[in-house]
């Protein structure tokens, strides 16, 4: 069995698999090592929303390129990934929200995104069954959408194997060896050693622990987020509804009919936790049906939890570390799946050509981590 590669990717989620896909497409010999099974970490627990409405230029570009990928993913990956451009509608109930959205829209439009601030009347035209007294309007981008994280990842995996890459599941990296200041090999819990000059840490919520193996401290803190899905119903409305009110939530209807959604807990729930709480189980249906009362007629099927990997400023870390050849692609702050196509492509590009292809300061490990992504 081959134990030497050009690149070893640690983590079989969207980011790791996309990076491996783009590397193997460029004929780079790649091994993916996953500690459990593909998508078993954060990717398989995300709700599949894909948006481009962010507040900083590189993030907006990454999101737009990712949407371009999702649009033709069926052709690229050879399977239907359930991409559907239903849009995202951020609801503004306060003057502050309206200002924040309008400021972001300016930057988004300058970067070529088809987004605008629409009136409350227009919002109700798009989602007639919404009950939202006091709504001032919304930030609406019709080309945002949704895709199935499992299908996208299995599509990546299929192509990686076809391109000659290797995917090793049920193997946890427990040691990373360096020589001088260069990465040299990784050792798994089965005692196997794999060699490569480049190792990418795409371990999601476990990224910080992996960095500790080589004495690096990265500002990535996992926290629990819960999600819920209902039974399938006939199409009710199109866009993801994002309600930032204190008892708001965000949810949308999958192309396959289910309503799926989350809310961000306050205070946050730190740690790598995937247990589900009774509080969310009652609170989420209340919040969803507050905004869309007709949902009271729909049944909840399933409730689960996964981790967001948060950075202090709300932007990802995608960079080479101070150990030569040891990269980190983590701290996705809940946006890993939707960013994965473009992050993987740019990272693969950098590994091959030493060029990020975009201004990369937003994602550097050495940045100051000041400020906060306005559209979290």
């Amino acid at each position: 069995m081959e134990r030497t590669a050009d690149v070893i990717i640690i983590g079989g989620g969207a980011i790791g698999l996309s990076t491996a896909y783009h590397l193997t497409k460029r004929k780079v010999k790649t091994i993916v090592i996953e500690k459990n099974y593909l998508t078993s970490g954060s990717t398989g627990r995300c709700i599949g929303g894909v948006r481009q409405q962010y507040a900083t230029p590189t993030t907006i570009k990454i999101a737009m390129e990712s949407v371009d990928f999702f649009k033709c993913a069926e052709e690229e990956l050879g399977l239907d990934v359930e991409w559907y451009a239903g849009g995202y509608l951020f609801l503004a109930f306060t003057e502050d929200e309206e200002k924040t959205f309008k400021k972001a829209i300016e930057i988004q439009q300058r970067n070529g995104l088809d987004v605008s601030f629409i009136s409350a009347d227009e919002c109700f035209k798009i989602v007639p069954m919404m009950y939202a007294p006091g709504l001032r309007g919304g930030a609406y981008c019709p080309s945002d959408g949704q895709a199935d994280p499992f299908k996208v990842c299995y599509g990546f995996a299929k192509r990686i194997r076809e391109n000659g890459g290797r995917i090793i599941s049920s193997s946890e990296v427990v040691e990373i060896r360096t020589k001088g200041n260069k990465v040299h090999s990784v050792i798994t819990n089965n005692g196997e050693e794999f060699f490569a000059d480049v190792v990418v840490n795409a371990a999601g919520p476990w990224a910080k622990d992996l960095c500790r193996l080589v004495g690096l401290d990265v500002p990535i803190e996992p926290e629990r987020h819960e999600a819920m899905i209902t039974e399938r119903v006939a199409r009710l409305w199109d866009p993801m509804l994002v309600d930032y009110r204190p008892d708001g939530s965000y949810f949308y209807q999958r192309v396959t009919g289910q309503i799926i959604g989350c809310y961000t807990p306050d205070p946050n729930v730190p740690g790598i936790r995937t247990d589900s709480s009774l509080e969310f189980f009652f609170e989420m249906p209340r919040r969803m049906s507050n905004l869309v009362p007709a949902l009271s007629q729909v049944s909840v099927l399933r409730h689960w939890a996964g981790c967001y990997s948060m950075t202090p400023d709300g932007s990802p870390i995608v960079d080479e570390t101070e150990i030569e050849g040891f990269f980190i692609a983590g701290g996705m702050c809940g946006h890993g799946f939707m960013f994965s196509p473009a992050i993987g492509e740019h990272l693969a590009n950098y590994i091959v050509e030493k060029d990020w292809g975009l201004p990369w300061d937003e994602f550097k490990l050495t940045r100051e981590f000041k400020g906060k992504e306005a559209l979290r």
């Binding site: 589900s276 049906s289 729909v298 909840v300």
Partner: protein, 94 residues
């Protein structure tokens, strides 16, 4: 029965042949098959299909069914209407 029409998962319309193909492709655990084919994500949450798929894996992989790990059971145990969770009564106006 018609070839290719032997339904294993009634909620998501998944056939025996599709399950066999997924196992051959390397999705050999219930958790992986659930994610690849959605068996266990439908209305019954795997109560019907899990046993059948456990049997298929057991036969194909030649392992005793009781050694095959079952999928994580997630709340609720059965579908619950949102109106029941929020305490709304039938006919109540909102």
């Amino acid at each position: 029965m018609t070839e290719g029409k032997r339904i294993v998962c009634r909620c998501e319309d998944i056939t025996y042949e599709e399950v066999v193909a997924a196992i051959e492709e390397g999705y050999t655990t219930l958790e992986e098959i659930k994610r690849a084919l959605r068996c266990g994500m439908g209305t019954c949450q795997g109560r019907t299909c899990s046993r059948i798929i456990t049997g298929i894996i057991a036969r194909m992989k030649k392992i005793p069914p009781n050694e095959i790990k079952q999928i994580t059971k997630r709340p609720p145990l059965r579908p619950i209407p949102i109106k029941a969770l929020i305490g709304e009564k039938d006919g109540e106006n909102r």
